[in-house]
């Protein structure tokens, strides 16, 4: 019975790889998630009840079980209650919890090392996983909390001149404080440098995420996700625990690649995202200064336009999510299809607040897969499209990404809606998009604006089309 725990960890590790693999295919994705969850359960139970010499109950079981119970109940309720639209911030919140967990492990471990009097003799390479877990975990925790706050609108963007330089300075300071903490040797208890590392990591987490805004938030969440993976891997190194190491490294590398893939989808490098500061105030010239006027259209006009079109493309954006308009959007699609209009959805890779956000949302309302067309496939089709209906999207259809090198989103591939015959934009007001910049598209003579809540407008549109 000696190696039972190792077998439990082996099962855990294999099911993580298998689960993640299955999650990469639509038909097996849900099962993959269950497989990974099963592996996690086996690994946790193994840790609780198996020691190096077979069965044993871990000390402080009562503390551990009550914490697990509380976490399970709270986590389950939160995850069940959250609206589909608030999913991105929920993921960010849970990610932060993982980061905090990793940081706490390092804090406790360091206290133990000090108590045992080993701090003076610890080798650099044994010190590394402890301090790296602390730093990365803390940055991930604080960063995720900021991302969470920004996504649910509690926090705004914040940046100042020279911030990037300051960030670099902070990285240097964190490394210096970590070194000084090691050199301190811990003869007189926990060194102030240790607290310094924590404080600096908190500050860095804030500075790192606060200036990043706009369409870049998903990239940041994905990056922080892989940070937490690395922090977990540090724990694996620390305790020579295979399942933590494998799970952590797996997420660290998968998360990094996912981040890069997302950046590629926006035609930007990761560095550019991190220091590019999308949404910088400088470009936020007032909307009137661009000249031209917007053309407001009425529901009846739009209804006629759509009913007698032969091809309609719907461009969903964050506004659709906010207004919870996915179901009525699907109804509009069905009504139009029954009138013989071909309807497709143009999905920009970063529409919404997460890649794939729109797919998830529209899938919820039973829109079938083959109607969701990715950017590179739909762009050539716009020239043969009669009417494009933009529902709460903004930055992803902003021609400035192509024409204005000074624009913060310059270089991002966009949906070429201006190739179509007519454009109708559903929008609550003339407010700028998340990137905080003007959209010339609205001043395009082909473009009509239908102001109002997206759900409301779509409902009226459906009624109108049915009545025609």
């Amino acid at each position: 019975m000696n190696h039972l725990r190792e077998i439990a960890y082996l099962i855990g590790s294999i099911s993580f790889v298998l689960g993640l693999k299955m999650m990469g295919r639509p038909d097996s994705a849900r099962k993959g998630n269950a497989v990974a969850a099963f592996g996690m359960t086996v690994a946790v139970v193994g840790t609780l009840f198996l020691g190096p010499e077979g069965f044993r109950v871990i000390p402080h079981l009562e503390w551990i079980l009550s914490a697990i119970l509380a976490g399970t109940v709270v986590g389950f309720i939160m995850a069940k209650r959250v609206q589909m639209t608030a999913m991105p911030e929920m993921v960010s919140l849970f990610n932060g919890m993982g980061g905090l967990c990793a940081a706490l492990i390092s804090v406790i471990e360091w206290r133990e090392i000090i108590t045992r009097g080993e701090a003076a003799t610890i080798t650099t390479l044994h010190y590394l996983p402890v301090i790296a877990g602390l730093i990365i975990g803390t940055v991930s925790f604080v960063g995720s909390m900021v991302a969470w706050g920004k996504l649910n609108g509690r926090l705004g963007d914040f940046h100042f001149k020279g911030q990037q330089f300051l960030n670099l300075l902070f990285v240097g300071a964190i490394l210096a404080a970590s070194t000084l903490n090691l050199l301190d040797g811990g003869a007189s208890g926990i060194s102030p440098w240790f607290y310094g590392v924590i404080g600096l990591s908190v500050a860095y987490g804030l500075l790192f995420v606060f200036p990043i805004g706009g369409a870049d938030m998903p990239v940041v969440i994905s990056l922080l996700n892989s940070f937490t993976g690395v922090a977990a891997a540090c724990g694996g190194f620390l305790y020579h625990n295979n399942v933590m190491l494998m799970g952590g490294v797996l997420v660290g590398s998968a998360g990094t690649i996912l981040t890069v893939v997302m950046c590629q989808a926006m035609n930007r490098s990761l560095v550019n995202v991190l220091i590019g500061m999308v949404g910088q105030g400088a470009s936020g010239a007032s909307s009137s200064s661009k000249g031209g006027s917007v053309r407001e259209v009425q529901v009846t006009d739009v209804a006629i336009m759509m009913k007698y079109a032969s091809k309609v493309v719907i461009v969903p954006g964050y506004g659709l999510a906010v207004a919870q308009a996915q179901h009525i959007c699907h109804e509009l699609e069905s009504v139009l299809e029954s009138e013989g209009v071909s309807v497709k959805y143009a999905i920009h890779p970063v529409a919404g607040r997460m890649p794939g956000h729109m797919n998830v949302l529209l899938a919820e309302s039973n829109v079938s897969y083959d109607k969701l067309v990715e950017m590179e496939h739909i762009n050539p089709e716009f020239s043969t499209t009669d009417t494009v209906l933009v529902v709460g999207a903004n930055d992803v259809v902003n021609p400035a990404a192509k024409t204005d090198p000074a624009s913060p989103i310059f270089g991002m591939p966009i949906l070429d809606v201006d190739q179509s015959k007519q454009i109708v934009v559903l929008k609550r007001s003339m407010k700028a998009g998340y990137a905080g910049i003007d959209n010339e598209l609205f001043f395009n003579p082909k473009c009509g604006m239908l102001f109002g809540d997206a759900k409301d407008s779509l409902q009226k549109l459906v009624n109108e089309i049915k009545a025609l």
Binding site: L20, M23, G24, P26, A29, A34, A36, M40, P59, H60, W63, S66, A67, G71, G75, F76, A79, M84, M90, V91, F94, N95, M97, G98, C101, L104, I105, I108, T115, T123, T124, I221, N225, S226, A231, A232, G236, L238, Y239, N241, V243, M244, L245, M246, G247, G248, V249, L250, V251, S253, G255, T256, L258, E333, G356, V360, A363, S368, Y369, K371
Partner: protein, 108 residues
């Protein structure tokens, strides 16, 4: 230098494991359709909740009279569990929607 070499020697299996896992991670993600990026991110988020095991280990190792460690460890296990449970449940909810797609054709 010796210290470094010793470290490599002692941890060689872990280093192999790490390098291989990095490649597995890259390989798993590279060919995934954009549709699944969000659930995948969320699923990966749940998997790094494995850090919970580390929290269980430190809490198990804490001395009976070291209340600071016990409290911090309990907090660690609590937030770690939040990560795991919340992560898997949220992912499941997202993927549930994909399952319901009524064949081809959209309208019910």
């Amino acid at each position: 230098m010796t210290e470094f070499l010793n470290f490599i020697g002692e941890n060689i299996t872990f280093i192999y494991l790490m390098v291989l896992m990095i490649f597995v991670g890259i390989e798993l993600i590279s060919h995934v359709p954009a549709v699944l990026h969000t659930p995948l991110m969320s699923g990966a988020n749940a998997i790094h909740g494995v850090v919970l095991i580390g929290a269980i280990i430190v809490l198990g190792n804490a001395h009976d009279d070291d209340y600071a460690s016990l409290a911090l460890g309990t907090l660690g296990v609590l937030v770690g569990t939040l990560n795991v449970i919340g992560g898997f449940v949220v992912t499941d909810r997202m993927l549930e929607m994909f399952k319901k797609k009524p064949g081809k054709g959209g309208a019910k």
